[in-house]
């Protein structure tokens, strides 16, 4: 545990960074002591990622000083920061997907045997390294063949293994399941004991209270408070982050669906969809106005189920009916034509068109649906964008900014906005609240509920059980790429889901 008498490991004073007009950081102070976990919290776009990018030399700062062990440092690049002892795992995983896991762990510092890069030695070391984190995977396979969770862990392990004095983690747990979070936390605790200082950015407040010793809160690029975690009540933390009073309202929604009600006709009926290596045969029925939650551990086949329904991967057998009419879902285009939409899990790779503006990203799905010749007039495009920026509280100066310049959480909102604008009948949301701050989190859940009320069918994949329990009319539980069971109505509870997952 940290004490204030100890000399600080990292001292940041008066840090300022302005991108275009508005400052992303203004005069931020930040102090990290050895052997502590220091959480940096704030809304989407508050400046958290920018803070660590300035500390690690990704961006040049406009003003301020950085001291490491009392000495002024000038990190020029992440590589340089690493040499100084500051390792960072950024929000966007920055590994090389086409290299193997082992190569990613050791790229640039491959173990040598008799002067030659030794693949065997490298693979062996990689396996051993991952073992210490209780991860047992084939390290010779391409990184891209693993889930984002594994990729994230590999990135973390690489960061840790670079013998850091400071480890910076930007939303490391956002794609991890409970079990993996545990693994990660045990790693963090042991690092703590070795006197390493850890800077943690996350939107999971439970985890903040579980692991962190100290909290710094940012709002609109300014530091608004620094507290010992144990002295800061949760409600106070939230209001400090949002700058307003806010009560979390996760509960349980009463079941809206009554059978035989024509308003709740079946929208999609899937019989025996399956694809070898992805998911075993499953049936799935979604009614209009119904919210179906998909629960399961990582790799249980939730995302794959969504991909099959949306035609990203073609089902090898089975059939699908949309409003009782038999359909062939052979591609996302087809699926979209039947009125589907899918908000993907991996926003950077599968969602964002990074160089296009926010406006263009938002209208893209609708425009693709309309076809190239039915151009949405610019006025209308602006309207859509402005509406969405307002409705989802996307933090930006205007809609004409390239979407890549948005903060992670705001990018996530843009993709959600894209599908809201295209107004699908069935919306598949894969981890829609990942990386979203507390305030926006509640808003997104409200939107999900509202869409259901408007008669839309929803299929929501989420690792946050409390959330799933809150909005689902029905929960599909998966394990090992297989649909296990469905829970409806009163059966739905966190315990019941956990039990279903664990049941042999």
């Amino acid at each position: 545990m940290s004490t204030n008498e100890q000399p600080a490991l990292l001292e940041v004073r008066g840090l300022t960074k302005t991108f275009t007009a508005t400052p992303a950081l203004s005069e931020v102070d930040f102090t990290l002591y050895p052997g502590e976990v220091h959480a940096v919290l704030g809304e989407n776009g508050a400046g958290k990622s920018t803070l660590i990018k300035v500390i690690t030399g990704v961006y040049k700062r406009d003003a301020g000083t950085i001291r490491l062990n009392g000495k002024l440092i000038e990190p020029r690049s992440p590589g340089h920061a690493q040499e100084l002892g500051i390792s960072a795992v950024y929000q966007e995983i920055n590994l090389i997907p086409t290299l193997s896991v082992a190569e990613n762990l050791y790229v640039g510092r491959q173990p040598r045997f008799l002067g030659m890069v030794s693949m065997q030695l490298m693979n062996k070391k990689a396996r051993k390294l991952l073992k210490t984190f209780n991860i047992d995977i084939d390290v010779t396979r391409d990184l891209s063949s693993y889930s984002i969770a594994i990729q994230q862990i590999v990135a973390i392990v690489r960061g840790v293994d670079l013998s850091a004095k400071i480890l910076i983690l930007d939303e490391p747990t956002s794609s991890l399941d409970r079990h993996e979070v545990e693994t990660l936390f045990s790693v963090i605790r042991s690092l703590e004991e070795h006197g390493i200082g850890i800077l943690l950015i996350t939107h999971f407040l439970d985890q903040v209270y579980e692991i962190s010793d100290r909290i710094t809160v940012l709002r609109n690029g300014r530091k608004v408070g620094e507290h010992l975690t144990k002295e800061l009540p949760r409600a106070k933390l939230i209001s400090e982050m949002l700058g307003r009073e806010f009560t979390e309202t996760l509960g349980k929604r009463s079941n809206q669906i009554t059978n035989g009600d024509s308003k709740h006709d079946t929208f999609l009926d899937i019989k025996g969809f399956a694809k070898r290596g992805m998911i075993e045969p499953f049936d799935l029925e979604i009614k209009k106005g119904e919210i179906v939650g998909l629960a399961g551990l990582l790799g249980s086949g939730r995302t794959e189920m969504g991909h099959l329904v949306f035609g990203i991967n073609r089902s090898e057998k089975g059939e699908a009916f949309v409003e009782s009419k038999k359909v062939k879902i052979s591609s996302p285009r087809k699926a979209i034509r039947y009125g589907f939409g899918l908000c993907p899990e991996d926003r950077k790779v599968e969602g964002l068109i990074a160089d296009l503006t926010i406006r263009e990203n938002i209208i893209l799905a609708l425009q693709a649906k309309l076809g190239w010749y039915r151009h949405i007039p610019y006025k209308r495009q602006e309207q859509y964008a402005d509406e969405m920026i307002e409705a989802l509280h996307i933090v930006t100066t205007d809609a004409e900014k390239p979407v890549r310049e948005l903060s992670g959480g705001n990018q996530q909102k843009v993709i959600l906005a894209r599908w809201l604008v295209s107004n699908p009948e069935l919306l598949i949301l894969d981890e829609p609240t990942r990386g979203i701050d507390v305030g926006a989190h509640a808003e997104i859940i409200n939107i999900i509920k509202r869409l259901a009320k408007e008669g839309k069918a929803l299929m929501v994949i989420s690792s946050e059980l409390a959330e799933v329990v809150d909005y689902s009319d029905r929960v599909v539980v998966l394990r090992d790429r297989k649909k296990l069971t469905e829970l409806t109505g009163d059966e739905i509870s966190e315990d019941a889901i956990m039990q279903a997952i664990a049941e042999k």
Partner: protein
Amino acid sequence: MVEMEKQVLTPVNENKPQRATNFKWRNIFRGDNRALWTILALIIILLVDRMVSPTFFTVRMVNGRLTGSLINTLDGAAPIMLLSIGMTLVIATKGVDLSVGAVMAICAAVSAVLINRHEAGSDNILYYPGFVIAIAILVGALCGLWNGILVALFDIQPIIATLILMVAGRGIAQMITDGQSPTYTDETLAYMGQGTIFGMPFPVYVAAIALVVVYLLVRRTALGLLIESVGINAKASHYTGVNATVIKLFVYIISGICAAIAGLIVAGENTYADPHTAGLWSELDAIVAVVIGGTLLSGGRFSLVLSALGALIIQSLRIGLYISDLHPNANLVVKAIVILLVLLLQSKEFKQAVGRLFKPVLKLRAVFK
């Protein structure tokens, strides 16, 4: 489908301040602030040309035809400009079309061979000049379709897919002309390269019209946006329902058509089609023009107008070299250096580095003040 547009989550706030930005103007350059530097580069090169030859900006009317180095520049830039229009769209989808030079040769050959039959007295209506032009353009479109099919349907990497036609194309052109380099006398086809309207060479009009037409085609529809989206993130576009196959077929066909028209112009200039040399190395000029115009070879946002300016830069550079006393041996080196300078002028990193270099000087000046 109409209902799709209807959906509104929260009512639009009518009191919102009006946007300050002028949309259309911004859209021409796709919000690219390198536009200014591209224009600046063109102006500098033209001024240097003027220093080399005092009569560079002099335009005279001779036999109803404007002459002068400036007109020569526009005239000579027209085929490159046409190619760069198609090339811009192709590159924006993260592709490249290496075959345009060869397609020029094929279409030039087709036009010459067909018109020769007309001149030999054939009554076949297909050999009439108007039809010959249409057929040549159709052949260009087919060449583009071929490239598009290889890239979009068979997923062959564009550089290889179009290399096939680049290599085979001149052979095809030779087969069409039977190994000859046919000449013709037809006035209509000659007009494509030599005609004038109000004294201005016809190719300049053709390039300008092509620019406007393609601009409207991609920006007044959603094509431009969809092209960029495919080029920036193909996977995400696929997931969003963008039909990449159609988009890619479209851009390669446009590129083929542009190459065909460029081929007709080059043939018309000399009323002659040489399968060996027509459009030789033009694909490189076109690619450089597109790059100077700020479109990244990795695809994405593009500006047709800037590509056209890029073509003008290349041609004013070339004409400048022609009229300079520089030994021709130095041409390629000078050309390479100037293009490098233009690209550096656009590079933010380079300007920052230069800025840092001058910082001490500025500080020093401040001290002395």
